[in-house]
């Protein structure tokens, strides 16, 4: 069992050689449609007068593209793809794999092998390929955003209203609450202390909101029990005086 982070080096030790092949996008899309065991085609390697020739032939059933959109006729992907072999010179390329454990990738990392040959998969040029390319270009040249002219003006958004619903609601709420009345000082103190248990710094507006007291009254109380700091980090906020606060562990009120 390998622990997390430990790299399985069997591939490296065996010096497994692999090929790195660059494949065109459309081909990889076709390959994704493969059925069954995943057979996609055949690779022919021939030695022609000393030079190795590699070519890939796509399976018949995968040549059909379900083209999206307007055209009725289907475009075919070319079948023959000769490989262009390249050197691995300037870099040492190794292949490693991450195994997923359902949630996260990268639980098991294994070194699969070293790249010994690089290749590019090129399509053999044919008419069908040209058509395919043309389609692709057309699609990619479409702008992402489209300006469209409308026949009728949009009238559903804003209608003139005597008084907006939100506004009405607001006024009603205000009237109902009425002016803030000074409550019992002890009650207010309790409210303040419990508020300061949750957070250390409060804006005066927030405190007014919490306690529902008029500002002047609240300020008086605060002047007793708290300090107003023009702190560097926090803008002008109120906090409890040191003797009143116990911030480590349980918050106790001292009076």
């Amino acid at each position: 069992m390998s622990e997390k982070g430990e790299v399985d080096l069997t591939g490296a030790k065996q010096n497994t050689g692999v090929w790195l092949v660059k494949v065109p996008k459309y081909l990889s899309q076709q390959w994704a449609k493969a059925q069954g065991r995943g057979e996609v085609g055949k690779l022919r390697i021939s030695k022609n007068q000393g030079k190795a020739e590699v070519s890939f032939t796509l399976n018949e059933e995968l040549t059909v593209i379900d083209s999206v959109g307007d055209k009725g006729s289907q475009v075919h992907v070319p079948r023959e793809h000769p490989f262009t072999m390249q050197m691995v010179g300037g870099q040492t390329l190794a292949v490693f794999t991450e195994t997923s454990s359902g949630k996260a990738w990268g639980d098991k990392i294994a070194l699969e092998g070293v790249v010994v040959q690089r290749a590019e998969c090129r399509p053999a040029v044919s008419d069908s390929y040209m058509r395919l390319k043309r389609l692709q270009i057309e699609e990619s040249s479409k702008p992402m955003r489209l300006s469209q002219q409308l026949d009728k003006a949009v009238t559903t958004n804003y209608k003139p209203v005597a008084n907006h619903a939100y506004n009405v609601e607001y006024e009603r709420r205000k009237k109902e609450e009425g002016k803030r009345a000074r409550g019992d000082k002890q009650q207010v103190l309790d409210m303040l202390f419990s508020a300061f248990e949750k957070h250390q710094y409060y804006n005066i507006k927030d405190l007014v909101d919490i306690t529902k007291q008029p500002v002047t009254f609240l300020k008086e109380i605060l002047r007793d029990i708290g300090i107003y700091n023009i702190k560097g980090t926090h803008k002008n906020t109120w906090e409890l005086r040191p003797e009143y606060r116990h911030y480590q562990g349980e918050a106790e009120k001292s009076d």
């Binding site: 790195l20 660059k22 995943g38 390697i45 870099q91 710094y201 926090h234």
Partner: protein, 510 residues
């Protein structure tokens, strides 16, 4: 699974290509630079993890959420603020983070693998591996990571690198750069304060050494240092290599050596500063009265000279004060000694200080002063002075130049003279005073013993007054010579001393 087709000049084999559907394994490329000479088959053990060091940058977990230190509605406010300014923070994606690969454990190599962007945008890469059944399997490459080896050796920080860049034309020995940095770090580990200063000083020293900046030095310490290895390296062109090599050898003394190196060149350059003026012997040690007189004379040789002397004293005092904080205990001791010396000197004359310094005058005054300075203040200096003598003599040999230059020898010379002063005031050091003394133009009518005697019988005089009587223009002697000769005369006369108005007066009774 493979079909062979023979033909005349070519043979072909066909393989089936499969693209497996199972997605449990994700393939990625690990790219190393060919120059790093990485051979995966030599790896015995490897560990690889994501480098999560950038996580905190994105998570913004610095603010306290609740309880102490938190603010009501902080989060909402911050978010509103961000939206207002249009700050968009990119989310932290673990998948895009670099890999840290450690090969062969602690002693092995470390690599950092950064994801290369744009690999899967226009084309897909597939890994073709051959299966046991002869078919090829193609796996898509998920990501490409470029792995670069990470340096395990010490590197310079950005500031240090900038420093060194500025000195690149002057630095010859590059090995010392990291060495001194390591020394600095060592000291920092030992004692914070002291070492901080020392390091600072070392740095300064080092800079000065290489860059030949002018620095205030205690020639004392410099000479002592040089005395330590007087054989090895009083290379006067201040070549860094041998000096630095020595520094490399004796790390403990590294500081000293460095200082010495710089100081050698600087001592020579600073000869005009006259900070050696103050390097006088302790006034109050028991020396012969003649020497005291001589010292009195020297101090009072000319009004300017005297003030100059006091000025260097002052400077020296200042220097000492400055450097006190920086020097090692040993050096501090010596400084204190010198400090006591200086204070003694300062108390003795008690004249006003005048700003202008005259190198020439001071030089001569200094040298002559050294000539007549009485003995050593303490035993330590005595012991060092022996080696100092050697050092100083070497210095001299290199520096047979102007009187100004020779005055740089005078500090050494002074120390030397401390010992044998009663007998041979000139000691071995400066050629000038020696010559001056060896050929006292006492043949001249003006400055004779009789003349001095006459004056002293008539009324008590300070050395300064005496010197005024024998002005250089009239006697034809140089001021240096005058002082020397007068000193000799006074020694011979051995007048009595009296303190009038805080000034030492000489007088004779018939």
């Amino acid at each position: 699974m493979c079909v062979s087709q023979g033909s005349s000049s070519s043979s072909a084999t066909e393989y089936i290509v499969r693209v497996p559907k199972n997605t449990s394994k994700r393939y990625s490329i690990m790219a190393f630079n060919a120059g790093d000479k990485v051979n995966c088959s030599t790896w015995t053990q490897a560990r690889m993890e994501r480098d999560m060091s950038n996580k905190r940058m994105y998570s913004e977990e610095e603010t306290v959420e609740s309880g102490a230190g938190s603010e009501f509605g902080k989060k909402q406010r911050e978010e509103a603020r961000r939206k207002k300014f249009g700050i968009v923070t990119r989310e932290f994606r673990a998948e895009d983070q670099p890999w840290i690969l450690k090969v062969n454990g602690k002693a092995g190599r470390r690599f950092k693998g950064q994801k290369k962007g744009g690999v899967t945008e226009n084309a897909s890469y597939y890994i073709f591996t051959q299966c046991p059944d002869g078919a090829f399997e193609a796996f898509p490459v998920h990501g490409w990571y470029n792995f670069t080896p990470q340096a395990k050796h010490r590197t310079l920080t950005a500031e240090e690198a900038e420093e060194e860049w500025g000195r690149r034309n002057k630095v010859v020995n590059h090995f010392s750069i990291m060495l001194q940095r390591r020394l600095r770090e060592q000291e920092r580990g030992e004692d914070e304060e002291e070492d901080g200063e020392k390091a600072g000083k070392k740095k300064k020293k080092k800079k000065g050494d290489k860059g030949s900046d002018l620095r205030i030095h205690d020639l004392d310490d410099d000479l002592e240092i040089s005395s330590d290895d007087s054989d090895s390296s009083l290379a006067e062109d201040g070549e860094s290599k041998p000096k630095v090599k020595k520094e490399n050898d004796k790390k403990g003394k590294g500081k000293k050596k460095k200082r010495k190196k710089g100081s050698d060149s600087e001592a020579l350059e600073d000869s005009d500063d006259g900070d050696f003026e103050g390097l006088e012997v302790d006034y109050m040690s028991d020396e012969s009265s003649s020497c005291v007189m001589c010292s009195g004379i020297d101090e009072a040789s000319e009004s300017e000279e005297e003030s100059e002397e006091e000025r260097p004293n002052e400077e020296e005092g200042k220097e000492e004060a400055e450097e006190e904080g920086k020097k090692t205990p040993v050096q501090q001791e010596k400084k204190k000694r010198r400090g006591s010396v200086l204070r003694a000197l300062q108390s003795a004359p008690g004249k006003k200080r005048t700003p202008p310094k005259r190198a020439g005058g001071r030089g001569s005054g200094g040298s002559s002063r050294t000539g007549s300075r009485p003995g050593t203040p303490s035993m330590d200096s005595a012991s060092t002075s022996n080696t100092l003598r050697a050092a100083a003599s070497k210095l001299e040999q290199g520096k047979r130049q102007t009187p100004g230059a020779s005055s740089s020898d005078t500090p050494a010379a002074k120390r030397l003279k401390m010992e044998p002063s009663p007998q041979s005031p000139s000691g071995k050091a400066t050629p000038q005073p020696t010559s001056g003394k060896s050929t006292p133009s006492s043949s001249d009518v003006q400055l004779t013993e009789d003349a001095v005697r006459r004056y002293l019988i008539r009324k008590p005089m300070t050395t300064k007054d005496l010197l005024k009587k024998f002005q250089t223009k009239r006697t034809g002697l140089s001021s240096e010579q005058t002082v020397n000769v007068l000193a000799q005369i006074l020694k011979r006369l051995n007048p009595e001393r009296k303190n009038i108005n805080d000034k030492m007066h000489f007088y004779l009774t018939e």
